[in-house]
């Protein structure tokens, strides 16, 4: 079970609590967690990464275990603490704009 913390606007779209849980088969990576998240909450499709390019939206960041994973390869294995559910993967809306 992977824990994922959503920013407020995505929480509203998903009609979920701030933290959600998803199941990932095999190795947990940014890509596989997002696949599972979008499958469980289809209204989040296209809001975290582009529908076509699958690239992270520029103002969305990924953090895990106090490290910025935004620029890591999306197929890189997430830390064990995220995989075993003791730490969440954080999706963060950048502090920007007006």
């Amino acid at each position: 079970m992977i824990r994922v913390v959503l920013p407020a606007h995505l929480r509203a779209l998903a009609k979920s609590d701030s933290e959600v849980q998803v199941e990932v088969e095999g190795r947990a990576t940014i890509a596989s967690v997002l696949d599972a998240l979008e499958a469980k909450y289809p209204t989040l499709q296209g809001t975290i990464r582009d529908h076509v390019t699958r690239q992270r939206r520029p103002f969305v960041r990924f953090f895990a275990c106090e490290e910025d994973w935004s620029h890591e390869p999306t197929d890189k294995a997430l830390p064990e603490a995220v995989t075993n559910g003791s730490e969440p993967l954080l999706l963060v809306g950048a502090i920007a704009g007006g």
């Binding site: 606007h9 779209l13 296209g46 529908h51 939206r57 809306g93 704009g97």
Partner: protein
């Protein structure tokens, strides 16, 4: 007794303003989708309780919302706007080739007869259609396939398809407008399109009378005369009497012919409303006076409408999709400002009063007249 429902899209959410036919006491509902930009919200003429809203943000991209109960509850719909085939390139601001990239939906135009069919005008400019109530969207690729597509260039606000007009007498005919490519028409339900910009003169262009490249801000039509179109261009108010085949300027005695919004009276096809804005670099009313100008002669002769509008120290803008009319016997006229006011006139523009004064910056205003 009849009712009106004013659908207001703002930079930080959607609002629904409701009143009875007197249009004196208003109920305000919202913000819906607080914190998100609502570029446009519009109801289906075939089922007024079916509403569609374009919700977007710089963080999380595009979302489409649908309501089946007049805006009380909303359902998130498909947001996958994927260009047909290889998107190709258009011109960037510096004239270099730039790939077509979807950014947002500027305008949603529901079908006149089918609540599940809606057209979406998007940035970068293209037109999409859903026939299943927003569950999926498909591009009508014939527009971008018009040979001029690689020469289109964005206006300051982006290369947006912001206006979609459906011909009530001919379901095969539609008009659209793009900043800054110009106006186009289809006569075969969107399969093929032709530019309709003859008569437009844009002096900032290398060829001021080019077939495409004009910064058309908005176009309006009266449903009883679908061949007569009124246009607010970047500069110039224009009129066509032949479905856009040719245009003539009708700016007449306007204090400035720059502006964004334009609309036509519900019952008087020759009565037109515009909100003159000082210039393209000063997006506020001239002299700090917020004035709607009305022509009862289809253009050329314009009168200022000021009763109830601020006549000093007013420096707001009225954006292209932020004016609408209702169809009650005494035609109501509505517009929203970048300062967050929504003004209503229950008498065709003679007098005005604010419905609300302190919303976020208003991006769009639509009105539904309900039985």
């Amino acid at each position: 007794m009849s009712q009106v429902r004013v659908l207001v899209g703002t930079k930080k959410g959607a609002f629904v303003l409701s009143a009875d036919g007197k249009r004196e006491k208003w109920e305000v509902s919202g913000p819906h989708f607080g914190g998100w930009e609502i570029y446009h919200m519009k109801g289906s003429p075939a089922d007024p309780n079916r509403l569609y809203a374009s919700q977007s943000s710089g963080w999380f991209g595009q979302v489409i919302q649908r309501s089946n109960d007049g805006g009380k509850t909303w359902e998130t719909m498909d947001n996958k706007f994927v260009y047909d085939g290889v998107p190709g390139t258009h011109q960037w601001y510096d004239g270099t080739a730039h790939p077509w990239e979807f950014k947002r939906v500027w305008h949603l135009e529901p079908s006149l007869t089918d609540p599940d069919t809606v057209y979406a005008g998007v940035e970068d400019a293209a037109i999409f259609r859903t026939a299943d109530g927003g569950k999926s969207w498909q591009e009508l690729p014939g527009l971008r396939a018009h040979g001029s597509g690689p020469h289109w260039q964005p206006g300051a606000g982006g290369m947006c398809l912001h206006t979609i007009i459906l011909d009530p007498g001919n379901p095969q005919r539609m008009y659209i407008a793009i900043s800054a490519a110009g106006a186009f028409r289809t006569d075969d339900g969107g399969a093929t399109w032709q530019p309709i910009n003859k008569g437009l003169v844009s002096n900032m262009m290398p060829d001021p009378k080019a077939e495409v490249g004009h910064c058309v801000h908005h176009v309006a039509m009266h449903r009883s005369r679908p061949d007569v179109l009124f246009m607010q261009k970047h500069w110039d108010v224009m009129r066509s009497d032949n479905a856009g085949d040719s245009w003539r300027e009708v700016s007449g005695n306007l204090p400035t012919d720059f502006g964004f919004a334009i609309d036509v009276h519900a019952h008087e096809p020759e009565t037109v409303f515009v909100v003159p804005i000082k210039s393209d670099s000063e997006h506020y009313p001239p002299e700090g006076k917020l004035r709607v100008f009305r022509s009862r002669t289809g253009g050329e002769e314009w009168e200022p409408l000021t009763n109830g509008l601020p006549q000093h120290d007013c420096y707001v803008n009225v954006l292209r999709d932020a004016m609408a009319v209702d169809s009650l016997d005494s035609c109501g006229v509505y517009f929203g400002t970048t300062g967050g006011q929504v003004y209503a006139s229950p008498n065709g523009g003679d007098t005005w009063a604010p419905i609300v004064r302190d919303l976020p910056s208003v991006l769009s205003v639509e009105v539904q007249t309900l039985p």
